[in-house]
């Protein structure tokens, strides 16, 4: 494919992610931090996020499976996840975490389980999205072009 097309595709794709609420302005901040001294900043951060989130989700699953559910621990895990997701701008994950925390506060196990499912779902979704995004970027880089900076004028 032609470079310009790929670039356009990237821009459109990124826009769509914003429109659908997968990402928010924080992600843009991250992109801004990427520069020559730090070329893979975004990639590193996002990878770190997914590693972290996987661990956390496993912990959460185990914790909710226990006969005596330790809501404090669950709350702290969800808090972590929320913090991480909001740091990279994964908006839907963050919202799901907020809902999860609410159920955790009232110690509603059913609600928590539902939320956990939801969070997992969202993580999975956003992971895919990111993978697509990075693939596109790699393609552009491979073709010798530069990744267009996202300018959103709403």
């Amino acid at each position: 494919m032609e470079l310009v097309q790929i670039q356009r595709r990237l821009v459109d794709y990124t826009k769509s992610l914003f429109m659908e609420g997968f990402l928010d302005a924080q992600f843009l901040q991250l992109q801004q931090l990427q520069d020559d001294s730090n070329p893979d900043f975004v990639f590193e951060v996002v990878s770190l996020f997914f590693e972290d989130s996987e661990k956390l989700l496993n912990e959460l699953t185990i914790a909710l499976d226990q006969p005596n559910v330790d809501f404090k621990k669950i709350d702290s895990h969800v808090h972590q996840l929320k913090g991480s997701s909001s740091s990279i701008g994964a908006q839907r994950v963050k919202n799901a975490c907020i809902a999860f925390r609410n159920y955790c506060d009232v110690q509603n196990i059913e609600g928590c389980l539902t939320c956990l499912q939801q969070v997992k779902q969202e993580c999975y979704l956003v992971k895919n999205k990111f993978e697509t995004l990075f693939r596109l970027e790699q393609q552009i880089m491979a073709s010798g072009g530069s990744v267009p900076t996202t300018e959103l004028g709403f």
């Binding site: 302005a25 901040q29 913090g83 991480s84 909001s86 740091s87």
Partner: protein
Amino acid sequence: MESCNCIEPQWPPDDLLMKYQYISDFFIALAYFSIPLELIYFVKKSAVFPYRWVLVQFGAFIVLCGATHLINLWTFTVHSRTVASVMTTAKVLTAAVSCITALMLVHIIPDLLSVKTRELFLKNKAAELDREMGLIRTQEETGRHVRMLTHEIRSTLDRHTILKTTLVELGRTLALEECALWMPTRTGLELQLSYTLRQQNPVGYTVPIHHPVINQVFSSNRAVKISPNCPVARLRPAGKYMPGEVVAVRVPLLHLSNFHINDWPELSTKRYALMVLMLPSDSARQWHVHELELVEVVADQVAVALSHAAILEESMRARDLLMDQNVALDLARREAETAIRARNDFLAVMNHEMRTPMHAIIALSSLLQETELTPEQRLMVETVLKSSNLLATLINDVLDLSRLEDGSLQLDLGTFNLYAVFREVLNLIKPIASVKKLHVSLNLAPDLPEYAVGDEKRLMQTILNIVGNAVKFSKEGSISITAFVAKLDTLRDSKAPEFLPVLSDNHFYLRVQVKDSGSGINPLDIPKLFTKFAQNQSTGTRNSGGSGLGLAICKRFVNLMEGHIWIESEGLGKGCTAILIVKLGMPERVNESKLPYMPKMPTNHGQTAFPGLKVLVMDENGVSRMVTKGLLLHLGCDVTMVGSSDECLRLVSHEHKVVFMDICVPCIDSYGITIRIHEKFTKRHERPLLVALTGNTDKVTKENCMRAGMDGLILKPVSLDKMRSVLTDLLEHRVFFEAI
């Protein structure tokens, strides 16, 4: 004829002599026989006679003598041989018994004599015992008298009774002619005759106290015999009789009070009264030792009884006084309570009455504002609204004034626009000033911050009050209002020694000077200005009205704001300057709020990069830690990352200028770390700035951060520009609290 061997009578029996002999013998015999009979008779009668044997002997002796003499009767005539032999037997027996008796008597007579001696001895002894008995009886009676006297004295607590009883009883016990009591006078230099026994009305004459005899009596606690010629002993009109012996004894006055002579000039050492006792004249009586002892004892008892009476009187008096005072206090308290209640009721009612129309005005003005108005009308309505709001505040403050006195009023702190306050004051005062043709000028120093933290309403009220006063009391000329930030030297020269300004980084002192060219104030009246309801009544101000409350309230507000307000004037007609200094807080930056989807172009707001700025970032969450690090790296900082509080404390050094801490409750005890970092770096410039990163948007977190000693708070997520401006502000002002 036979002849008898006896001697032939020479004479014939019928001779007269013979006859007489014959009769005498007869009588002798009779007597001799009757004596033993008598003896026996009487001895038998008496129970005690120790010498019966002697009696028998004596009886036998006498009987035999009698018998002999009887038989002798027969020998006067011719008698037979039998008679002669009987006569001889009788004589022999008589002789024997006589000899024995004589011998016996030698033993008996000394005995009988000694009996007599013993009898005499016993008689003497009996007499002596009698005497002693009499003495003892007297003493016992005296003792009884003392007890009775004491009882009488102690049974009453009335001084007069005590003394009268003493004198009467003493007089009776000792059978005195006269008994008197001399009391020291008020001056203490004389003794005055106070009580006597016989004379009903004491003459009341006095005797100087420094008489040698009196001194002698006072110096000893024994009863002393004194001469009847002594002035104190001259109690009876001089008469023909010899005065009896006089004894005087001192009576210590143990407690000085009220003894019918009030308030001694000096309450010094012991004072004594003098008791003088006089024995009946013309009697040979002497003062016995036991009587003197009695007198001494009585004197002591009297002293004690008197002191008791005096003390009792004193305490009764004190108690009465206290009761009176209590009653008075109670009354005063009730009156005060009534007054307070009345005042509160009044205030409440007046407030209510005042507030109702106020509300009407405010409500209707606001409604009016909503309608269609011309700009002029709008301006007018706004002024009406502002004035009524001020008035409403004033009404509140009239009620608050009582709360101000208790110190229970609190300022409503908030961030406000300082410049706007001055502009409002100016707008409010301009109409009145222009009517009076006064020129008002406002001069705000350039370094005056635009925003400040304080109680906006009350500050405006205070400034308005001062400016209003300036306008009120000036008939012509100009009014100038200056406001600037007070520096330390200007603060120091305020005219109040107790005003100690303390400069700190979060506050500044606003100094406002309002100078007018009006009627001025007499410097002597200046202290009264700030007292409630005190108005100086100079002619120029008589018509200006006002309750006199304004400056008092202002002063209290200013005090609450830790400031000072005073007025300087050079005199009447020379205008005056009102100066007020208040402490206001520095505001935090009014932050640009988060704007989604609108990434700004990197503005040149502050520094674009902070080369080499050493920063420490502490965050448990790996992802957000990385993001923050990326942010700071992009800005050129030298970032150290730590993931736990222990690491943070270990690695933090004075080279780090800022420490960013992610506070997520309950993960890291960031407040604890803050305190520990404060402890570690005691010098202000060495300590890195501590900034909290948090996603919590509630005020509690912010307050906790401020209280723990953090220098800043930023809400996550942080954009690049936000971080840039935060760092700029931080490094410039050393504090940055985002508005939540």
